[in-house]
Symmetry: C2
Subunit: 712 residues, 2 copies
Amino acid sequence: MTENPLNALMNPRSIATVGAGNNPTKMGTIQALSIIKDGFKGKFYPVHPQDKTVLGHKAYPSVLDLPEAPDLAVFIVPTEMVLGLMEDFGKIGTRRAVVITAGFRETGAEGLALEKELKEITRRYGIRFLGPNCIGLVNTAIPLNLTVMPLMGPPGLLGMASQSGTYITQTLGLLRRRGIRFSKAISLGNEADIGINEALAYLGEDNETRAIALYIEGLQDPARFLEIARRITPHKPIVAQYVGGTAAGARAGSSHTGAMAGPDHLYDGLFKQAGIIRVYSVEDLYGLGWALATQPPLKGKRIGVITNSGGPGTAMSDTCNAGGLEVPVFSKELQQQIRPLIPKQGAYRNPVDLTFFLSAEAIGLTIPELVMKSGEVDGIVLHGAMGTGFMEELYIHTGEFLGISCEQFVEFAREDLTPALSLPGKYDLPFLVSSFLDENDDFNRGYREYNVPVYDSPEKTARAMNTLWEYRQIQQRAPAENSPLPPADEAAAALIAAAVEQGASILDEYSSKRVLACYGIPVSDEGMARTAGEAVEQARRIGYPVVLKGCSSEIAHKTGRGLIHLQIKDDEAAVRAFEAIQEAAGEALPVLVAQMVRGDRELVAGALRQPGFGPCVMFGLGGIFTEALRDTVFRMAPLDRVVALEMLESIRTKELLGEFRGMPAADRAALAAILQKTGNLLLLHPQIQEIDLNPIILAGSRPVVVDALITV
Amino acid sequence: MTENPLNALMNPRSIATVGAGNNPTKMGTIQALSIIKDGFKGKFYPVHPQDKTVLGHKAYPSVLDLPEAPDLAVFIVPTEMVLGLMEDFGKIGTRRAVVITAGFRETGAEGLALEKELKEITRRYGIRFLGPNCIGLVNTAIPLNLTVMPLMGPPGLLGMASQSGTYITQTLGLLRRRGIRFSKAISLGNEADIGINEALAYLGEDNETRAIALYIEGLQDPARFLEIARRITPHKPIVAQYVGGTAAGARAGSSHTGAMAGPDHLYDGLFKQAGIIRVYSVEDLYGLGWALATQPPLKGKRIGVITNSGGPGTAMSDTCNAGGLEVPVFSKELQQQIRPLIPKQGAYRNPVDLTFFLSAEAIGLTIPELVMKSGEVDGIVLHGAMGTGFMEELYIHTGEFLGISCEQFVEFAREDLTPALSLPGKYDLPFLVSSFLDENDDFNRGYREYNVPVYDSPEKTARAMNTLWEYRQIQQRAPAENSPLPPADEAAAALIAAAVEQGASILDEYSSKRVLACYGIPVSDEGMARTAGEAVEQARRIGYPVVLKGCSSEIAHKTGRGLIHLQIKDDEAAVRAFEAIQEAAGEALPVLVAQMVRGDRELVAGALRQPGFGPCVMFGLGGIFTEALRDTVFRMAPLDRVVALEMLESIRTKELLGEFRGMPAADRAALAAILQKTGNLLLLHPQIQEIDLNPIILAGSRPVVVDALITV
């Protein structure tokens, strides 16, 4: 495996900037200031054509004048200067760069040409770079901040790679207020060189990163992304937000990074396949990511709910329940321990409701500790620990009567929260907090310092716990069972080649199913007939009842044209049906005589190539409800057995696959094999564009492909 | 109509407190302080057994010593004192009270008895009250604040009624930071007297309330709630959060107000029927409620997206699209106007992306005004207007080089935002803002003063716009077509009475369908047969093919016992089937001979009485998928025609009801009539517990009830 270029790029010992000067209202200068002010300990070499010093550091008139080849070159110059300067850095031996400068691919054809030239130069020198059109990076371990906003604060545990620079820049203040801290953050820009896949692999390997957050507007290589992500998710959680699936979203996205968006349902399937937790807002990307980064595993479903008010307690309980978690009634013993600690009108069975009882010790220490050490819960959600923020609110009205200043009052009423704040870390259980107070409250500030996430609503707190549970399921997934692709079947290849040679865009139903059968996909017993006599012969061989269908590669949609005759029960009916088909077709038409497969449960499967996405497999509910229900799921081919089995459980109507209304459970192994093989077909036969198995009927437990169409 | 008791209760000219003293760390005192400090302009009479003054106001040793009967009595005393004091207030002539004191129904049997006594006393004196176990009320118009937290700020436009006191108390600071301001807020407590229905009616009538937010853990009278809400929603939006539908949630809820929770799907149906927008978090209750309270109607789908960064622009566009809104490409003309105002790498087609271009005027005034006055959009979402909050962030690093203080820098860089802030109010379009800065930023603070909602994420901003669209649909609902209940049918009543007299818990299929037919519900043509000869006779009358089913009130589930024979095509088969049924039953069993109704689309409907909820009608997808899909919706009976038609469009698989795979569209009027009549049946015949129509087959477009069961 080649070394990830980000290893060096994220950890430079020396940095040169081009474009930073001494005017602190210019973006380039502000970015250089972030390097200096946020504590970068390595060497800093500003290049400046006129000024002798930049921000108090000795400046160099040109790249070629630098005293050494810096580990990292940072470009904040106008677009037209990038190429020449990159050439200079190449010459002196710099091998990593961050190109913040915009004006490339995202601006149109001219910019695209420029970007190609840039890649040409960097390739020549072996330079690996982030951008162009990115906002920089953050590495809190060195610490290094290349963005325009101040970072500050201690290192964190959340690694981020973002296709929008905003989400590692404009949000830094917001994240600081919420106590969410990056380990590393990478703005990807146009991904002309280093892309999201390398960023993901890097964060996956990074020991300081405990969870990864991805903001995605489009993937250049989804297959590689899947491979990398799937290796990471069993031991490190990944959350991702994908936007851009709609036309306006794509327009907005392409306007700033030129990333290519794809259909939402494919991304959805890709994330599930990779074990990535999908979120639908940047707030959740950070907030749920932070819970995953900071909290120990949620080992079971049992949640203890502690609150100072019924409303938030109810909301947290309900939301946990909706996520598959339980809020079990405490044992009598635990109830008896809690009861004396709370007011009479409080609740102690779980949820514990202290009502508006203002003991920081009871809500923050005594009660949570009792619950945590009881062994009766696997995680805690807590609302209503209120400290100085609440006192300040109280002082607004009471101040006049207290006769002391607000500071004095707060100081007087303040309790030592250290025992409470350090409690969560003492037990190996997730502990999540809800508070309506802001970051000035000492409880909230303290929890955040102790890496206990604090959310501004009970529902978000509970949803974060649900996310920990979701990740637990991902961790416990069966390991991938990758088996090598089988060799391409020669008979199948011949059938496909024949169709292509004839200039057909599809294989007729019979040929389609023969191709499937070559790979062991179960299809209905059937044969072709060119005369009524042959039809009877086939029918007898198969056994009545049979179905007769007019069959040619020119006829894709047979129903409604009199070309399908079901429930043929004897020779006479077979002859009649054969003749009726000839008449309806108005020409001699070969007829497919097929076994009449019986079963009330119909499924669909298929495979397709999506531009920019690669071969995907589809599975869903079939029959007349297919269109109305749109209950289909997608995964990328090849499918390993585990993923194929997971697909079966991913449809909303999965209940149909179990024992159902007196019908036996579906043979899931056989269904999974059909999905795997359907995906493999696309990989083995590049001429195949699309495969459509519709319906697959469950004959008892056994799936049989009853109709199929291969598009070449 | 009787006068709403809240008219007087919310607007007292004089208030007496019992339980407030001079210790500003006691809750009772703090609540009295809220009256005084938040600016109540009427008379304030503290009752105190010892102190001569309370919080600087003359105190009275007992209620009987008060100089006049106060308009409102506020109880903050220990539980055991409430009854006696209420008696005293009754004697002196006070007719409105707020009982904040807890310890009643919510604590168990003893408390419940106490609550009954309290109601007895208040009834005797004609006193109407809020609580007990509530947290008070807020009326920003007087202004009056009875809660323990400071209110401050100008009056707002959002009216709130809450079954959790927390949501009008603990959140006041949070709401202040977010710029969300109540018109009125009512904590309902145990609802021993005044309940949520009166609160809702009051807020519906209140001119200062532009939108209503409800926090609900259970309804005592859902039918009345529906009636009131449905009258309000065409002209004033209502948002509601319902929690407590799960076991733990209900436990948490009952522990604090004793409200009765009910199945979530019934509440969901009730809200839809009433035109109430349901939300799933308290954050949305406030945040979306505030957009509804402050913004003009969203008259069309076209949204203009303005941003200083691609990520938020993409997220807002995508989220708007997901909610059914459009982000149309601007006309060439408008594009040409915008283009010179933004940097080269920006976007101007919609979304408008200024990139990181820091002109408050461009993003806050010039560009939005161009877009608003173009007539090309119906609403605006904006991200990235940054003022002093951003400057303060910038100063962190640049301060040293600027050589001025942060205050000086901010003052120097500050722009006059008034033209930008007053812009949204000049056009009759919704205008919603997203910002990652906090409430200290002058843009955010200013927008909030101008009633422009500011959200802390792009997705929330877009979701708020989607909610305005959702409300627009509600406003445009057809008006209710209430028709009086028809008289009870005598033949139907006789059939039901006969079953009840026989001690049967169900009506057999034949009788069930005869009851339905009495009301004109279309059922399959059928007749009873007690001999094989009668079976043949019925079959001939109906016309083959027919179905034969063993039929008695003791047999509810017929399949699997050999009691159903489908597709009977001639006399001989009818005789065979009749005999087979007798054999399978092992006794003489009457047989129902019914028309074989053909159709691929099966639906279900029904009606049931839910304890504490009243008669409800169910409609959904039928057939073998019923259980797997659970695609059912509920509404309360009686259904008017509009609601019955809406029910049809509320199932996920509603596409099946249109023209579908060569089948004609369902006769929606006939289906709606079935639903209305099914609901009426429960209202007309109190003995009926449940009606189950499963399946209803669409024979072409015509719905026919093929199997039915009435439980008595």
